[in-house]
């Protein structure tokens, strides 16, 4: 398929998506085989094209905020893989000093605002980040990610109304992977096309193939332009799929093998690769080099995490208040 995107864009997408995927595959192994990572762990595998397309459609000053399925977007935004792996290990060198774990990655310096565990909560917070950009008169926008399950929380509806009322520079990106844990979208509402929920507030909205970085990029570019030009928010429903269970402990019995295989047949990385070869953007040799670079970065992150120390014991009462003299109750 001929393309309007440059070779550099394609190779950037490919490397980023591979990095996210290989990082998670490695982390999952460390979780399952060695027990070095604990707690809830929600993989992004299958959804990487969304992160990739969103990155090329935004600038570094734009803010990202998401739920607990946060590894991919954190890495995309530029939170280092070393600090991500260390965070999973609960080490002091993690992106949240080992205090957040898988669900709570953060990177304020690269405008990644986390990593949130309560379904739907970040929709409100994300709109608030956008409010501050508008208030300070910047042209930055916020990309606020949430799942199909979160679309049934009251806060989304309140925020859609507020964001339209005040024309906040926020792009709501619903990553519709068709399941909220074991509950398929059809079982959660009379309205199963989530993008249509924007209609009630006359918010512009689109359904997007979230398995192709190209389409994600184009739809987000349009929405970002609108937001920067003070046109207000947009809802983008990205149709995607998660290959893994909801979390590491979910066997995923609620969906069929055929369904899973069908989606794997539309794998975003494989599709991207095909376009790269079709357009002669890279040789197999060059792709192998990228893969090797990714593999090395991931291996290094494991080494980094394993060699890093756990947080000091006195960290229990640190980062609770900014006030350094806060008088904690210690019995």
């Amino acid at each position: 398929m001929p393309t309007i995107f440059s070779k550099e864009t394609y190779l950037y997408w490919y490397e980023l998506m591979q990095l996210i995927r290989q990082f998670e595959m490695m982390a999952e192994e460390k979780y399952k085989m060695e027990g070095k990572i604990r707690g809830f762990f929600h993989a992004y595998v299958g959804q990487e094209a969304i992160a990739a397309g969103c990155m090329t459609a935004t600038k570094p000053e734009d803010l990202f905020i998401t739920a607990y399925r946060d590894h991919g977007l954190a890495i995309a935004k530029g939170v280092s893989v070393n600090s991500c792996m260390a965070e999973l290990y609960g080490k002091a060198t993690g992106n949240a000093k080992g205090k957040g774990g898988s669900m709570h990655f953060f990177g304020k310096s690269v405008n990644f605002y986390g990593g949130h565990g309560i379904v739907g909560a970040q929709i409100g917070t994300g709109a608030g980040l956008a409010f501050a950009e508008q208030y300070r008169g910047t042209d930055n926008v916020v990309l606020c990610f949430f799942g199909d399950g979160a679309a049934r929380q009251g806060i989304m509806h309140e925020i859609f109304n507020l964001a339209m009322l005040w024309k906040l520079p926020v792009i709501f990106i619903c990553e519709n992977n068709n399941y909220a844990m074991g509950t398929s979208v059809e079982r959660t509402s009379n309205v199963i096309d989530i993008y249509k929920l924007a209609d009630a507030y006359e918010m512009p909205a689109d359904a997007v193939d979230g398995m192709t970085a190209e389409e994600v990029h184009e739809s987000v570019t349009r929405a970002v332009k609108r937001a920067r030009e003070k046109g207000g928010p947009t809802l983008l429903e990205m149709k995607t799929y998660r290959y893994k269970g909801h979390s590491i402990s979910d066997p995923g019995k609620y969906r069929s093998k055929d369904e899973l295989e069908e989606y794997k047949g539309r794998d975003p990385i494989q599709r991207l690769l095909k376009n790269i070869y079709d357009n002669k953007f890279a040789t197999e040799e060059q792709i192998k080099n990228i893969d090797a670079r990714v593999e090395q970065a991931v291996a290094e992150s494991v080494k980094f995490a394993e060699e890093s120390p756990f947080p000091d014991d006195d960290e229990v009462l640190k980062d609770v208040y900014v006030d350094p003299h806060y008088p904690f109750i210690v019995d």
């Binding site: 707690g39 809830f40 205090k99 949130h116 979160a150 049934r152 074991g182 079982r187 229990v316 109750i329």
Partner: protein, 329 residues
Amino acid sequence: MARQIAYREALREAMVEEMRRDERVFLMGEEVAEYNGAYKVSQGMLAEFGPRRVIDTPISELGFTGIGVGAAQNGLRPIIEFMTWNFANLALDQILNTASKMLAMSGGQISCPIVFRGPSGSAGQLGAQHSTAYENIYANIPGLKVVSPSNGYDAKGLLKQSIRYEEDPVIFMESEVSYGDKSEVPEEEYYIELGKADIKKQGSDVTIVSFNKMMKVAMAAASELEKEDISAEVIDLRTVRPLDWMTILESVKKTNRLVIVEEQWPFGCVSSEITYQIQKEGFDYLDAPIRRITAADAPLHYAPNLVALALPDVPRTVKLVKDVMYLNK
């Protein structure tokens, strides 16, 4: 040998037995039906009762809690399951502003017989937003009763009581890490009255009070102390509100020393209330200050060492007991 079943099975039996008895009882919550429960408490219940009475909801805690609270006022006896109590924060408005206050606001006309249940407290390295113990927060609210059992036997009897006989809203707190624990649960039907603590181990030197999974710490500490010839009496509150401080007082009259172990944050927690009641009613019986171990005064961090440090444990409990016995140099 008597029958041993898991905590989760005991809860399930309580719900199943009461649903068989009373058509007005139904179960509603996230993943309770087709997925058979996020923690498999409601396994098989959809198959037995069908989707009219075992109802999956979208992730809309405020909404489905409202449905439950309204249904309870209109002749039904709902059981609302929260996947964990952390997510019930979204529903707090319905619980605090409506359920707990209906009877008072309506001058006694409208009651709200509903059971809200789910796991509370830490379940390991789940990070700050999935680890809060909520007993004291709900126990602060007049109009609610708060149950927090430590084992399957108590859980079954208390849950059956809550569903069948309690006419007021009941907050029922379980624990993810206890769902697999086995305990002796008889085949015969039984009920346990709310508001009655249970002496899980008799002793004479010191009283240790706890509830929910911190009872494991209290009991293990008592066995450690036994090895050093220190006899601890261990009281399981079972219900946090109403608080059975009389049972604690009777024990303190005998032991003259009190240590409380709980997973709440320390400010205004269950031990604060116990301490107030016991110093007021039992001042003359105390030979040492009442002491406690709570969770650290901080959100629970993820790293394994920080989790361990933030929560009560056996060594610190043993040490505290020795402190109140003036055995530590």
